[in-house]
Symmetry: C2
Subunit: 208 residues, 2 copies
């Protein structure tokens, strides 16, 4: 079988996934020309995407997407984590938290919440009195009677309640997957969901 | 009966409530020395609060609060809207959205969410793709399949669901009261809740 490298390119780092191992690289030190073998990538970095077009072994996964299943302005990384799962709720807890539902391989829709850091920063911007860290030990079922709990419950309780309302199974990925999953029971944390989605899409066969 | 004026002082404006009429004044043009009669005020503006201490007819409502009922870092305006209601859920939709529950005159706790503008600004900061206005026509029960709906549902659906989970009656006040209440059934919009709370507290009698 031909060797395939997967690559998830953000605005500051690139994650390279090869033989089940993920390696994070800082973009300023990243030399895509040096990678040998076929590379499939997702990218939110338009400048780098343009450079990669001139490299014959680099393939943009966007060419494989069946856009009838999703909507045109949907984030490419969000589509990839959905492609990984045929049936379930997929939570990607990064700078934003995306929540999407797949049933029998069909995209049902979803929503976008602020990420944990973005939410805390937004509270801090409102008032110095709210410039506090979330209390991740808080019991979300109890009504808050102090400020750190009041903002934590205010942000997390509604979000967790919404995620749970879509049923099981729940898959969580992204940088804050572990923090968020501690509030969910029976949850599958999988930090390689994006690569699983890319792999499935490549295996389905190229449309190009 | 002695004439009483109520005043709610923010960082840029002061709301004066007298004989059932509310008047908003810009702080830079506000001359508290000119108000005749007893004035009770809440203030989040420390500089102005200090100035007011030298005026014998201006009384800070903070002196009347029974702090055993609340918690020490709780916002003074939040306590006032709670004081207005003996039994119900109180939503103050301003720069932050506070949600508090009172049962038989006893404070049960609550939470603090971002205000509508703060939430939209926080999405915009995450990505230019999310720098969109909320769609206040959206049906929160349907899963979103476009970006404006995905951020609106992402912010509002969990919040509305949480508010409803505390039961009835629901009182909504603050600048975004009308926008928010359109997503709630059987809701009482009351823009003078803060003054009703102040009035009730004054009527109960001074502790000082």
């Amino acid at each position: 079988m031909k060797k395939i490298i997967l690559c998830d390119i953000g605005n500051t780092t690139a994650d390279i996934y090869e033989n089940g191992v993920c390696q994070k690289m800082i973009l300023s030190e990243f030399k895509p020309e040096l990678l040998a073998g076929d590379v499939w990538y997702v990218s939110v970095n338009h400048a780098l995407s343009e450079r990669l077009q001139s490299l014959p072994n680099w393939h943009n996964i966007v060419t494989l997407i069946d856009w009838d299943k999703y909507y045109l302005t949907m984030g490419i990384d969000r589509i990839m984590v959905c492609e990984a799962i045929d049936d379930g709720v997929i939570v990607d807890a990064g700078s934003a938290i995306t929540v999407d539902v797949m049933r029998d391989g069909v995209y049902q829709g979803g929503f976008i919440s602020l990420g944990l850091r973005a939410a805390q920063e937004a509270y801090a911007r409102l008032s110095p009195a709210l410039a506090l860290s979330f209390n991740f030990e808080v019991d979300l079922t109890i009504m808050a009677k102090n400020t750190p709990d009041a903002i934590t419950v205010g942000f997390l309780a509604p979000l967790i309640q919404s995620i749970k309302s879509y049923g099981n199974p729940i898959y969580v990925t992204g940088g804050d997957a572990h923090l968020l999953s501690s509030f969910l029971e029976e949850v599958i944390v999988d930090e390689t969901l994006i690569f699983k989605g890319m792999k499935k899409l490549i295996d389905k066969g190229s449309k190009c």
